[in-house]
């Protein structure tokens, strides 16, 4: 058993006044020591997939799956206590906007050392030394000074690098990054992604990279799963994304304005109702 994560027939449903709403409809995927991209528009269920794996869907939302295992351990049967231990230690998640995911009334240093000390028995002094080392690894200059800052005193790009440092310090095996750079400027985006990419590769972690940006994902992943209306419509190797077959994937690729290849009109996506009912493509390894 070499896969980090195996998920089969995962569904996430929410009750609404007009009946059940299925945000994720029976998808299957696995994650090896690789970088898996999950791409789709807003509402396609990509974020819900990430949250379901971490057990972050609160009632009345419901998660069902025929199989959901991490290193062979059944996540469906894990107690809330066990899930708390898994989160951070084994699976970490980086959210979209550092403005909302960092605690505004705690210094950066305290937040990072807290993340470490929750999962490992280390002295305050050692935790601090490792936090500084980690900030250095995410290319933050003067880490000692940054440790004493509050989140509002750092820029967006720095905030996101601090989040990455915080999520990676307990050394998890799986990192779920949910739109980690969409709140950042283009010129900072690449830098943050390169740092994340390097750390993930050096540590041999598995990465699930959730984004709406197909081209960005294809550059930083090995495999890409394209989601539409709660299902996976296509899985392909990131390097061969331009050979994608599904009209939805093609539509997404063509709707991006390209600086070097100007067109009079952009291609608007024509949605086919059949895409919604077509069975989910398996992304199992």
């Amino acid at each position: 058993m070499s896969n980090l994560l195996d998920v089969e027939d995962l569904s996430v449903t929410f009750p609404t006044r007009s009946g059940e709403f299925e945000a994720v409809r029976g998808i299957s995927f696995s994650l090896g020591r690789e970088r898996l991209g999950i791409v789709g528009e807003s509402g396609s269920g990509k974020s819900m997939t990430g949250r379901a794996v971490l057990g972050l869907i609160r009632p009345p939302g419901r998660v069902t799956a025929t199989r959901m295992t991490m290193n062979g351990e059944d996540l469906r049967a894990a107690s809330p206590r066990r899930m708390r231990a898994i989160r951070g230690k084994h699976i970490s998640m980086i959210m979209q906007d550092p403005k909302y995911s960092l605690n505004p009334v705690m210094t950066v240093g305290r937040q990072i050392t807290e993340a470490l000390r929750t999962h490992e028995k280390v002295s305050q002094r050692e935790a601090k030394a490792r936090a500084i080392e980690m900030l250095d690894a995410v290319a933050i200059r003067e880490p000692e000074r940054v440790m004493r800052l509050y989140p509002h005193e750092v820029s967006g790009g720095m905030g996101q690098r601090i989040m990455i440092a915080m999520m990676l310090i307990p050394n998890p095996e799986i990192l779920i990054a949910d739109e980690p750079t969409s709140a950042l400027d283009v010129s900072v985006q690449l830098q943050v992604l390169e740092i994340m990419d390097k750390l993930v590769r050096d540590r041999g972690m598995g990465l699930i990279f959730i984004s709406h940006d197909l081209t960005l994902v294809s550059g930083f992943c090995d495999r890409v799963a394209v989601m539409y209306a709660g299902r996976i419509v296509e899985v392909c190797d990131a390097g061969r994304l331009h050979e994608a077959q599904h009209p939805y994937t093609r539509g997404l690729l063509n709707s991006v304005p390209d600086l070097e290849h100007p067109r009079d009109r952009l291609e608007a996506l024509k949605r086919d109702p059949d895409w919604r009912s077509a069975p989910s493509v398996s992304a199992l390894l």
Partner: protein, 255 residues
């Protein structure tokens, strides 16, 4: 006569240690019927230029002339100005009143400008932005992000303006929806002969929409170039080259 003529615009926020010189000596001339793009990172002052133009930033120095009419610092603008210049904001979730229907939003704008035949005009406006009459009595929460942005565009078009100021009109939308909105904006400009001044951090979007581009950094305009030169990547300023480079690398996929 240019549609928009901005000379030596300076905007300063705060005093003493909080002093922030947000816009420094910016000079821009936008011709009638042109589509002009302002690019830069967050904090570069590009949105502040637009906000000073419409009076949302009351204190500035320099000269701003719109369709030949000199503007003075302060929040007040003439009635003609408000008819001629309209703005579309970034976030369609924040820029529509949550408890007003599409009909109320458009009626209010049309009444404010003293236009007759409100009922027929609303039908036309909704058709123009590709929404159709079925959306007329919906509330914003019953619309998707793209549909909301269409309503915001319809509202901007209501007083029959000559100039549209577009502040990141598609950055809150999915790429597929972005394509629809950009197509719509392109069509409207051709049909109605509008002038656009567009702010965006996305060089792909600006390159698609605009014929001339100004690059801003730390409040100053560092370079102005035509779209052809931008496409050939012939930027003379380092910062512009850096921006183009990151934009292209993210389009090509990072590697």
């Amino acid at each position: 006569m240019s549609a928009i003529d901005i000379r030596k615009l300076n905007v300063v926020f705060g005093d003493y240690e909080d002093r922030n010189h947000a816009v420094r000596d910016v000079t821009i001339a936008v011709e009638r019927g042109e589509s002009y793009g302002l690019v830069g990172e967050s904090g570069s002052g590009k949105s502040t230029v637009l906000r000073a133009l419409v009076g949302l930033v009351p204190e500035w120095s320099g000269e701003i002339a719109v369709l030949g009419e000199q503007q003075k610092p302060g929040p007040r603008r003439s009635h003609d100005f408000h008819r001629a210049v309209q703005m579309v904001f970034q976030d369609p979730y924040a820029s529509l009143h949550p408890r007003h229907t599409v009909d109320q939003v458009l009626t209010e704008t049309l009444r404010l400008h003293g236009l007759k035949g409100v009922d027929a005009r609303i039908e036309t406006l909704l058709d123009q932005v590709g929404l159709g009459g079925g959306y007329r009595f919906r509330y914003p929460h019953q619309l998707s992000g793209g549909q909301r942005q269409r309503v915001a565009i319809a509202r901007a078009l209501a007083p029959e303006p000559q100039i549209l100021l577009l502040d990141e009109p598609t950055s809150a939308l999915d790429v597929s929806v972005q394509a629809e909105i950009l197509n719509l904006l392109g069509d409207l400009r051709r049909e109605l002969g509008l002038t656009y001044l567009m702010v965006s951090h996305d060089l792909g979007v600006i390159g698609h929409m605009c014929s001339r581009i100004a690059v801003m950094q730390n409040g100053a305009l560092v370079e102005e170039l035509g779209v052809e030169r931008m496409r050939r990547l012939e930027a003379s300023h380092d910062y512009t080259r850096h921006l183009l480079d990151s934009a292209l690398r993210s389009v090509r996929g990072g590697r």
